[in-house]
């Protein structure tokens, strides 16, 4: 089995609305796979189909070589799943809840729970209801990782986490990969998965629009750049630089879009005194837009 997840024309409609349209996707065993898309793209829908929470309207999926519906229990034993909206009854402590889930899994070492909670700075003995959103999300992360599953399916795992914890989470993902586990995680932002993911898919309006090595996606991603100088600069100074488009110069500030290598832009800017240099990753909508319309912009 070389594929952890394979979908074949997987589709899902809610009434008349087609939320997922013939998704063909392959996630290899042992890789970290980013599943990117804007709000409403169909990420959660896809993930719920893989776990048999939802039933496909068309097509099919195999996960770890198993059928999500017919081999449900066997499959779920080997998966760690973090739902996109992780909800638990607040009138219990993380320790009680995680013990319960561990028991449903046939027992999970208390040490594994302790270690994960420690790394994520989660207090296991407070009432879950009294925890902040981010700390509640950590409970969800611990239950997904605690039994060291072959496959981790994580729906927006960093939602609610502060940057420090998001980094710790990425470290967990890295270690999972080292240990041979497969990780499938959804996100809105490329930058969030780019450091850990091997490959990423981009989905929009229920359709897969791109699958590539993260490096490739990254190289083709468009950034918004704003450079401020100590005095007004001439507009034509940035007119024809490789990868730079949509140049607008207002007095001492340059706004433009950049695809790929920043070298040309930096060198052009360095002819003036640079006060500030801001490079911002666009939201995904814009990223896809350029991914497709991309070619003439890149040129």
């Amino acid at each position: 089995m070389a594929e952890a997840i394979v979908t074949d024309k997987l589709s899902k409609s809610y009434g008349k609305f087609l939320a997922l349209d013939s998704l063909d996707m392959e996630v290899r065993v042992g890789e970290v796979y980013g599943f990117l898309g804007p709000n409403g793209a169909g990420k959660t829908t896809t993930i719920r189909l893989l776990l048999d929470v939802l039933r496909p309207s068309g097509g099919s999926a195999r996960v770890l070589g198993l059928d999500p519906k017919n081999d449900n229990v066997e499959l779920l034993r080997r998966i760690g799943y973090l739902p996109g909206d992780f909800v638990v009854d607040g009138r219990q402590s993380p320790r009680q809840y995680l013990t319960y889930l561990g028991n449903l899994r046939g027992g999970v070492a208390a040490l594994a729970v302790e270690t994960l909670a420690d790394r994520l700075s989660l207090d296991l003995d407070l009432q879950i209801g009294s925890l902040s959103k981010g700390n509640r999300q950590k409970v969800g992360l611990v239950q997904a990782f605690m039994h060291e599953p072959e496959l981790l399916v994580l729906d927006e795992p960093t939602s609610g986490l502060d940057p420090l914890m998001a980094r710790e989470f990425l470290a967990l993902v890295d270690e999972a990969r080292e240990a041979g586990q497969t990780v499938f995680m959804s996100s809105h932002i490329l930058s969030e998965v780019q450091h850990v993911a091997d490959r990423a898919a981009i989905i929009r309006e229920g359709k897969l629009v791109a699958v590539d090595e993260v490096e490739e996606l990254r190289a083709r991603a468009m950034r918004r750049v704003q450079v401020t100088f100590d005095r007004d600069v001439p507009g034509d100074a940035f007119a024809s630089i490789d990868g730079v488009t949509d140049v607008v110069v207002q007095e001492n500030t340059l706004h433009c879009r950049l695809v790929g290598n920043a070298d040309g832009l930096v060198k052009a800017a360095s002819r003036f005194t640079v006060v500030d240099f801001i490079s911002e990753e666009p939201d995904l909508e814009e990223l896809f837009f350029h991914y497709y319309e991309g070619d003439d912009h890149v040129a």
């Binding site: 719920r48 779920l76 889930l101």
Partner: protein, 264 residues
């Protein structure tokens, strides 16, 4: 308590359940204790002055005998309504409520079948209903002698079991509706409608000759607390009650296995 789905279900609701049990004991003691005042000529006069249909509908026609009194109060409308409210609440939470609040998604993505989730939640409901029956039994037993209730302990236990099974039936119906639709409000409404309709059919149908047979369809008729307090459980109807509850749960399992679970 954290070992399995049914134990956890009870554990999560322990405070509410404890409240219910205390309530059942208290209500049973209060109403059963009141019997000594009901078995007086004055009270019988009051009942006699009420419209006959109403008296019959609520089963007050035999209010001065212990079986008639308990069967129309503790084990009558009051007891059935209380246990139905409890099991409708639990039944609605079992699937629809957890689905609506989002916590069901985690549970069904654990390595347990959906069938087990339905059955475990039903077991929790059954135990709660039996607990309610035991609480009523204890309450009545506590005042049996001082209140001059001349009914054997065995018959009281039988009526309490009947009450618990009525609760189970209403709760199982509610679970079944939840297995089809994940909307808690709707499910509570359906459970309440089932209970009220069952009660009304039992109370009113016998008063109209042409539709009197309809009472045979009502679980409240099968339950017949006054009859049980007099002659013991009708095993055929008791079995029927359990069988219908089991059928509801079977349908619930089938329905829940077939459908999407909607998250929040």
């Amino acid at each position: 308590m954290l070992r399995d789905v049914w134990t956890k279900t009870l554990w999560d609701q322990r405070r509410a359940l404890l409240g219910w049990l205390i309530g059942f004991v208290a209500v049973a003691m209060m109403y059963a204790g009141f019997f000594q005042f009901a078995a007086t000529p004055e009270y019988q006069e009051l009942i006699d002055s009420m419209p006959a249909g109403l008296v019959e509908g609520f089963g007050w026609d035999d209010i001065s005998s212990p079986a008639g009194y308990l069967g129309s109060t503790v084990y009558g409308l009051l007891g059935s309504a209380l246990i139905a409210v409890m099991t409708i609440g639990m039944g609605a939470k079992a699937i629809a409520g957890s689905e609506e609040d989002g916590s069901l998604e985690v549970l069904i993505t654990m390595p347990v079948t959906r069938t087990k989730v339905v059955i475990d939640r039903t077991v929790a409901l059954l135990l709660a209903a039996l607990g309610g029956g035991v609480a009523v039994f204890i309450g009545v037993l506590a005042v049996r002698e001082p209140a001059d209730i001349d009914i054997s302990i065995g018959l009281l236990a039988a009526a309490s079991l009947g009450l618990a099974l009525l609760g189970l039936l209403v709760g199982a119906f509610t679970i079944m509706v939840g297995a089809f639709v994940g909307k808690r409000g709707l499910v509570v409404g359906a459970g309440a409608a089932f209970a009220v309709l069952g009660f009304l059919v039992n109370a009113l149908a016998p008063q109209v000759e042409q539709i009197a047979w309809l009472e045979n369809l009502s679980p409240f008729h099968w339950y017949d607390a006054t009859g049980t307090l007099g002659d013991g459980l009708d095993w055929g109807l008791t079995l029927l009650t359990v069988a219908v509850a089991v059928a509801f749960v079977a349908v619930a399992v089938l329905a829940f296995n077939r459908r999407d679970v909607r998250g929040t």
